[in-house]
């Protein structure tokens, strides 16, 4: 047999075409998002941008950073969800798992109630506790003496999440119900209304390298989704390599969640849709999850800022749409849960 490859299968060609179609749709969506909004009419035309300085500033100072933040948020949540589902061999896992989101929620509440509540403090505290939640899960998992690596981490994640949720409840109980409690509630609803260029620049140095590492390791993720024994026999260091991708996924998640609050269901639902469209091989499923996550968050954020006079919290929309979508997926038996 020659080393020459046979032509790719029809499925592979179709999957690649779909991946490019999603990317093209995303580009169009991002450009369109810059034009839509309440100023005072629903659309900005190119001629308005050329002649109206206020419109130009609005787009450059408010809409563009917000769109970029939506891109980073969506790519991170979708990509991290896909990575965690593969590494934990569980299609029902996302970054809420492993104590990441509960950690961020606790960190934010703590900062709002006890540390003055300045935006930078809230974000820093949320990111710190998100990482701490993950570290605690990992350390506890190492001390559990039964089950394989996946089961141990799942158990540890449940323990840490429950503890942090209780702690967040305690902080809320101690919060000033007129000033601090609403702030906590708003943070938890999630949203991008306060995003500035500065926020985008804060996210980039963490999010971009993390996503690049995950993207580069995308084929390896397939091997890491096998059982420890098999992964070992294929020359992989299962524990160490999974740690690399989990840390990258969680660090990026902590960075975006600290700015945007709790934006739920993206990491759970998007990888399922991505796998339906381009297949389960992470070579395509991971980039598709990042792109679709971005598209989903961008669309929800467009709705969040345009439909009503006030903002609709983004996390509310993603959870609502995501849960409905998931219902559809599950009812149509597109999710197979195997042990």
């Amino acid at each position: 047999m020659s080393a020459e490859a046979r032509p790719r299968t029809g499925e592979e060609r179709r999957a690649s075409a779909r991946l490019w179609a999603i990317a093209a749709l995303l580009l169009a969506g991002a450009l369109a998002s810059a034009a839509i909004g309440r100023y005072p009419g629903p659309f900005l035309t190119p001629s308005a941008l050329a002649h109206d300085e206020l419109a130009r500033n609005l787009v450059l100072d408010l809409r563009v950073p917000r769109i970029l933040a939506a891109l980073l948020l969506g790519a991170t949540l979708g990509g991290a969800g896909a990575v965690l589902q593969m590494v934990f061999r569980n299609p029902l896992v996302d970054s809420g798992f492993l104590g990441v989101s509960p950690g961020a929620a606790f960190g934010a509440s703590l900062a709002i109630v006890f540390l003055g509540g300045a935006p930078a403090t809230v974000q820093g505290s949320a990111a710190a506790f998100a990482l701490l939640g993950m570290a605690a899960s990992y350390l506890i998992a190492q001390r559990i003496r039964f089950g394989d690596w996946v089961l141990r981490l799942v158990l540890a994640g449940i323990i840490v999440s429950a503890t942090l949720s209780a702690a967040t409840g305690a902080v809320k109980y101690l919060a000033d119900p007129l000033r601090q409690l609403p702030d906590i509630t708003f943070w938890m609803l999630g949203g991008l209304w306060a995003i500035t260029w500065r926020d985008v620049l804060h996210m980039l140095p963490v999010v971009l390298p993390s996503l690049v590492v995950l993207h580069l390791m995308r084929w390896r993720l397939n091997v890491l989704s096998l059982r420890d024994e098999t992964a070992f026999s294929l020359g992989v260091a299962p524990g160490r390599e999974r740690l690399i991708v989990v840390v990258a996924a969680v660090a990026a998640t902590a960075a975006v969640v600290a700015k945007a609050g709790q934006v739920g269901w993206v990491g759970l639902i998007v990888p399922h849709i991505a796998r339906r469209l381009v297949g389960s091989d992470a070579r395509r499923a991971l980039p598709a999850s990042m792109l679709l996550g971005t598209l989903f968050v961008l669309a929800c954020d467009d709705v969040a800022r345009t439909v009503l006079n006030g903002e609709i919290p983004l996390g509310l929309l993603t959870s609502f749409v995501g849960a409905l979508f998931f219902l559809g997926v599950v009812v149509r038996r597109q999710v197979a849960v195997r042990s």
């Binding site: 047999m1 020659s2 080393a3 020459e4 490859a5 046979r6 299968t9 499925e11 593969m86 061999r89 569980n90 299609p91 580069l216 390791m217 995308r218 084929w219 390896r220 397939n222 091997v223 989704s225 096998l226 059982r227 024994e229 098999t230 070992f232 026999s233 294929l234 020359g235 992989v236 260091a237 390599e241 796998r275 297949g279 389960s280 091989d281 070579r283 499923a285 197979a336 195997r338 042990s339």
Partner: protein
């Protein structure tokens, strides 16, 4: 002295934790390159532990494992995986990889952390699928395969790995007779091509069917290790399994029949 044994254990003992009883005690044996060896024993006799030691997943508490003449601990994980492959008992796949994508994972020992498999890797995977008779199914999702087909896909992945030594844990324990035969035929083909195959089984007839050598394990000790016909005798097997069996000759191979 001829070429070194493909695998050699000298005085190997293993316990899962200090203070726990040894699962294997003082095991010494050699596996000749290019032979098919069956590790035969009742449940709990230490077969799987022995296989994990050969794979390098476990390190012996005492004694030494050598792979192609070199101490196993001197190999990097990557080097070892290029020489020793594994066909596990069953391989739960959480996501719907296609058979081709699944077989391609066998290239991992030959690719770096950030590499993607290329056209040559893909050609190897297709070739391996052809060899085990799954070429026509290469686009199917692995979770939709039958048990026998899934096991053949796993063997194809090990072929793609191109390791000279293949370890297999109970390769046919959950298969029906027709699929068992398909898997055994593929293992026999690999042996006849000069690969070293070591598989565990609790079924003496499986050992009789394809193995050149049999290692008989009981309670973590080697009871016998020799050519198949020399090991599979009425007295030995009756002692090993704690029940009356009779070994008869059938079509030039031993056949083990339990007494009713």
């Amino acid at each position: 002295m001829s070429a070194p044994a493909a695998l050699a254990l000298s005085g190997v003992s293993f316990a899962y934790a200090p203070g726990l009883p040894d699962v294997l005690s003082d095991v010494s044996l050699e596996v000749a390159a290019g032979s098919i060896t069956a590790v035969l024993g009742a449940n709990g006799s230490g077969k799987t532990t022995l296989l994990r030691l050969l794979l390098g997943l476990l390190a012996p508490t005492r004694g030494e494992v050598r792979v192609e003449g070199r101490p196993q601990r001197d190999y990097s994980r990557r080097d070892l995986s290029q020489r020793v492959g594994l066909v596990p008992q069953s391989e739960p796949v959480a996501f719907e990889l296609s058979v081709l994508e699944f077989a391609l994972l066998g290239r991992a020992p030959h690719l770096g952390l950030l590499d993607l498999p290329g056209a040559a890797d893909r050609a190897l995977a297709l070739e391996a699928l052809e060899r085990v008779g799954l070429a026509a199914l290469h686009r199917r999702a692995v979770p939709t395969l039958s048990g026998g087909e899934a096991q053949l896909a796993t063997i194809a992945r090990a072929l793609v790995q191109q390791s000279a030594i293949l370890l297999s844990d109970e390769p046919t324990s959950h298969l029906d007779p027709a699929n068992t035969r398909r898997v055994l035929e593929v293992l026999r083909m690999l042996g006849s091509e000069g690969r070293t195959v070591v598989f565990t089984t609790h079924d003496p007839n499986l050992a009789a069917a394809i193995a050149d050598h049999v290692v008989l394990l009981r309670d973590g000790r080697v009871l016998a290790a020799a050519r198949t016909a020399a090991v599979l005798t009425t007295e030995r097997l009756s002692a090993t399994y704690g029940m009356e069996v009779e070994v008869v000759q059938w079509r030039g191979r031993p056949l083990v029949v339990p007494h009713p």
